[in-house]
């Protein structure tokens, strides 16, 4: 049995892939977000300015923060697809198209962002 019963031939279509990416990125956010909050909070508790600067320059934090941003953008795009279908009655093709467009746009932004590292 595959992980969480995801692999079935019947699931090889855009809607399912979009939904799984949405869920997995959401799960990743839910796992990383507490760490993000915790480290931010801790950094300031110790010594406000210096702590934050030291924290922001930690490579591990940089990488995990980048992943968090990636998960956020992907989840965001998936969420737009969902809202487009559920609230604006868009057809399937349109919804997928919009999701792709947003994913592309945000992905480009992300690339831009990563260059900063």
């Amino acid at each position: 049995m595959s992980a969480f019963g995801i692999t079935r031939a019947s699931r090889a279509h855009a809607g399912f892939v979009a939904a799984i990416v949405h869920r997995v990125s959401g799960l990743a956010l839910a796992i990383f977000l507490p760490l993000h909050f915790l480290s931010l909070g801790l950094a300031f508790e110790q010594e406000a300015f210096d702590g934050f600067i030291a924290w922001a320059n930690n490579p591990l934090v940089k990488v995990s923060e980048a992943l968090l941003v990636a998960a956020l953008t992907v989840h965001f795009a998936g969420g737009l697809r969902l809202l487009a279908v559920e609230f604006f009655g868009l057809t399937r093709a349109q919804a997928v198209w919009i999701a792709c467009a947003f994913a592309f746009g945000i992905g480009a932004g992300l690339l831009f962002l990563l260059r900063a590292f």
């Binding site: 969480f4 839910a30 931010l40 934050f52």
Partner: protein
């Protein structure tokens, strides 16, 4: 899932659309635009507007994530309906407390 939970989850999603965009822009400006951490903090620290912005964000994200986790716990991790609901609520409180603490830290409240 009931209409109440649905309202909360999709409602927080709608609320977060502008918040996420703003947040992403802030990060990009911060990291790419050459603003140093000091400069950012200098602008935001003590700013009530940003404190409110991120407090709302934390509230919305916590509720949104808690409900999502409830569904995942039931559908993927085999928790019963009730257990998943309890786990979801605990997760909301957990995220909320950590998140608000971080907001207080950053804005020096």
């Amino acid at each position: 899932m009931t209409p109440r939970l649905y309202l909360l989850q999709r409602g927080t999603a709608f609320v977060m659309v502008p918040l996420v965009i703003t947040h992403l822009v802030v990060i990009m400006i911060a990291v790419h635009g050459g603003l140093s951490a000091e400069e950012i903090l200098a602008r935001t620290r003590g700013s009530a507007a940003w404190a409110i912005f991120y407090s709302v964000f934390v509230f919305a994200a916590s509720i949104h994530a808690g409900i999502g986790m409830q569904a995942i716990a039931h559908e993927w991790f085999g928790l019963g309906q009730r257990a998943a609901a309890i786990a979801g609520h605990i997760f909301i409180l957990f995220l909320l407390s950590l998140g608000l603490r971080a907001v207080f830290g950053v804005y020096g409240l």
